[in-house]
Symmetry: C2
Subunit: 555 residues, 2 copies
């Protein structure tokens, strides 16, 4: 174990590794090299600083250089590292204050160079009021412009987490917001149905959303952006936020001859060691393993960076710790909606070759008789062959975070749907319905896995409605008083209470997709129809929970 | 598989079994026999009905007999079942309306007779305004009395969940509340430190609490209770709530020759079948397996009853489902405090022969820089030998439910502390600190399990302070600005920042228990002292988080 630790990068994984190394080894020399002026700041908090939820910029700084100094950790800011020599155990770089070159020696090295915003190859990037949001300085620039400039119409390019968090921040500040997304849906890591629920919600907040639409150029006037041209239209804009994702900063590692993984991020083993002994890497610049698929993935997240920084520190101090990988858990808040995911989406599960089934249920945060309940729609996905839970998504004003954390833990424990249906979760009326929505979803999955009633995803219903009308019908079994809201076009309506009498209206030769509001009564209807000799009966996953009427109109 | 299902008991497990059996088998004859007038009501919601949070009594009724009838389930109320003949597959009983005897035949039977309030053997139980709280009729009686009578001073006998929920309800209604508990602490399923935190909190709400104190008799005037005599004092009371726990209603099962388990509740296998084929039992009248200890336990809970009812139904319909057991998860709310537990307490773990270690941390519900954060204190316990997580407790205004559900899932997945320290939980600033408090606790446990710094529970500190002052000292390493609050009597104060200079003040021959506010800086101090040759250094679990000053004064 060497005596001199250098850390390159001072935002999340780097400072964490330095602090933990100090706790493991009070003797080691520890230096953090940081290119920017600030260190140890909360990148994930930036949208809340821009919206004014966080009023003081200082709150974003977890730990100042002075605090690090108290622990005997030296922080050198405004130093750009330009090269690593693994053989000589040296780094060299430039002091950005004095413009002088310097060298330094290490016994152990942690690379925590993070990620950077993707810049599209379009015209007009140089214009004023064209922003990214990655570093605290990006946030400073936005805050500054919102104060100094007359900015009313903002276009956000990219419908991912940051873009959607910023949509809220900007609406809160009274701006007009338009989102332009190249993919056919916002929130591409989620299934289409859940992305549709979010889209409908955001539209009620006055946000314009254009999908399947690429940005072609930014047009300016007097050096300021005033229009964005997409593949479909021109949009007037006083400011543009380019939120097209990030990519790992790996140049330094690549030039030093360190192995770059198949994802394009730095390869590390479970100990967070790179391909060169004694050189560790952690945080947004490294790839890791997806624990469901076993494949290498690059999913940059602040929480992962902190865990990895700790693991690197333990190991470089001679201890033994491993970071096995991630489940792809993610969450964000936009307005009152809590949107979260863990594991695989249905789409991803199919792509990975799983034969998967899904359950979609309404999930409240308390017993139905306690006033003030909040609801999220919850989807849980299982592998048809093994019953193992593969992932989940949750969206709504309810406790999406809790639901998703429970399922993330089910993934870590490799639980099957049947096992999940009996887990001992905390129940009292103010905290949960008597059966947790997670358990209800597991029960629905168990029924499906046993093949009693086959499910059909909404995407398949939509497809068949447009392509197979002669052989496919939709049966709505809701009662009369529930029919004010959206209906599935062309559906046949027989309330469950009248199904026995009126089932003769149905064509036994056609495939029948049944729905009610949430899926329980339609399940009963399916059982009944099957018993009456209907052979091609399927229960629509989640009933009307994911039917996005407005989305439909636009198609 | 038989065609006629009788269900005895109509509150939770019984109706659930009936409803699920109907979904599994649309043909079966299903009858529910219920002794009371009401069926399918939310027993757990009663304190909220009494407090007025739930205004309409009807909201407590999940499903009326009419709703059951729609599914072809017949509900017979006011029928007391008095005997089961397993050989003849008959039950007999009495119609409480007509006083007539009746018999009925079953192919399959579900016993869901629930539990009943324990009645102490003391004088005065017959007096007016002496209440229990188990059934909806108990709640009716309390609501009625609170309207009709002048009730100001209420004594609650028993400091368990129901008693503490009711304490809140009664204070909300403007009553004076005194709690009398026979055990040395309220909340006996929790460790002493956490029970102490709750006690201090309840005392700030104006509740008087007497522990280690038994009830001897109830004294009345004009037929109404007006005093309660305990082993220590007389307390004036306009009403008394006897909340001394419940016991399983097993008479019917016992007389039918069904096996009664070692806990005194009805024995069932994992399929929820009793010792007689085709006779199932579920809910508060049955025992199950504790999944950590492997022992039989009787832990009556509404959520468990619902899961068990479902499992019984699947099996009696010829399917295959198992209910493997419970983790002892429980939660309740009292005022703004969310109090929850899963698995074993430290005390229980020791009793079960585990050599266990604990981590106590502060757990926020969001990143520190997002305003409005709420905090719970979280304790996680692991087995020293295997590293496996054994249980957790959480208390405070923060998301105790979420923390405990995550740990409950860790228990189901049999995770070790090291595995728990890298789980992929949902992180964004509005939902969690960057490292979930669960992960922070797992990290503390990992450090302890590796033996770098030994922990010491507060109970041991207190004991040694009173018995071993010559060989034991407490070192407080907090900074000067933190010392306004409680201090541990006789502790030696050296702020961490001055420890290097002032460590000479400490006696190397004595055992030193170090603390700061939460345990992180004291951990650093321990590392430093060990490095300086101090051999008997221990870090106080959870620092000052569990130090209950007021509790101390009373001792």
């Amino acid at each position: 174990m060497g005596k001199r630790l250098l850390v390159i990068g001072g935002v999340a994984a780097g400072p964490k590794a330095a602090a933990k190394a100090r706790r493991c080894n009070p003797e080691m020399e520890i230096l953090i090299y940081q290119e920017e002026e600030e260190i140890s700041y909360a990148g994930c908090g930036l949208p809340y600083y821009i919206s004014g939820v966080i009023q003081e910029r200082d709150k974003l700084i977890s730990r100042t250089p002075g605090k690090f100094a108290l622990d005997g950790i030296k922080v050198l800011r405004r130093r750009r590292i330009e090269g690593i020599d693994p053989q000589r155990r040296m780094i060299h770089g430039k002091n950005l204050e004095s413009d002088e070159a310097f060298e330094d020696h290490f016994d152990q090295l942690v690379i925590a160079t993070g990620a950077e915003s993707i810049r599209p190859k379009i015209e007009g990037l140089h214009l004023k009021n064209v922003f990214y949001l990655r570093s605290i300085f990006d946030a400073d620039a936005i805050v500054e412009a919102l104060k100094a400039e007359t900015i009313q119409r903002v276009v956000i390019a990219g419908g991912g987490y940051i873009g959607l968090e910023m949509a809220e921040s900007l609406i809160e500040l009274g701006k007009e917001v338009t989102i332009v997304e190249l993919a056919p849906q916002i929130l591409t890591l989620f299934d289409e149905d859940f992305a549709g629920i979010l889209r409908r919600y955001l539209e009620t907040k006055g946000i314009k959303i254009f999908t399947s639409e690429g940005i072609q150029s930014l047009i300016g006037k007097d050096g300021r952006v005033n229009q964005i041209r997409t593949t479909h239209r021109e949009i007037e804009a006083d400011a543009v936020l380019l939120s097209l994702g990030v990519r790992p900063r790996i140049d330094l590692a690549r030039r030093a001859g360190l192995r770059i993984g198949e994802t394009g991020a730095i390869w590390v083993n479970e100990r967070m060691e790179t391909s060169v002994e004694g050189i560790y890497a952690a945080g947004d610049c490294v790839e890791t393993t997806h624990l469901i698929t076993g494949k290498r993935v690059w999913i940059p997240l602040g929480s992962t960076a902190n865990k990895q920084g700790r693991v690197a520190a333990v190991n470089l101090c001679g201890g033994h710790a491993i970071f096995p990988g991630v489940m792809g858990t993610a969450i964000f808040k936009t307005f009152e909606f809590n949107v979260a995911k863990t594991g695989l989406s249905l789409k991803e599960a199919e792509r990975e070759g799983f034969h998967s089934v899904q359950a979609i249920v309404k999930g409240y945060d308390r017993a139905h008789y306690i006033p003030g309940g909040k609801e999220s729609t919850l989807k849980v996905i299982a592998d048809q062959n093994t019953g193992r839970i593969l992932g989940a998504q949750a969206i709504g004003k309810g406790p999406s975070d809790k639901f998703i954390d429970i399922i993330a833990m089910a993934l870590h424990g490799k639980l099957t749907a049947q096992e999940l249906s009996n887990v001992d979760l905390a129940y009292a009326p103010p905290f949960s319905p008597v059966l947790s929505p997670v358990i209800v979803a597991a029960n629905v999955l168990t029924n499906k896995l046993e093949g009693k009633v086959r499910g059909i995803p909404l995407s398949e219903v939509k497809e068949k409605l447009s392509t197979s009308k002669e052989t496919f019908q939709v049966l709505d079994v809701r009662e009369e008083d529930e029919l004010q809201g959206p209906k599935i076009p062309g559906s046949h309506w027989i309330p469950l209470s009248k199904l026995n009498k009126q089932k003769g209206q149905l064509d036994k030769t056609k495939e029948i997709a049944v729905h009610c509001e949430t899926g329980l009564r339609s399940y009963k209807a399916c059982v009944k129809l099957q018993q009456e000799g209907f052979e091609k009966v399927r229960n629509i996953d989640g009933g009307m929970l994911c039917w996005c009427d407005d989305l439909e109109k636009e198609r």
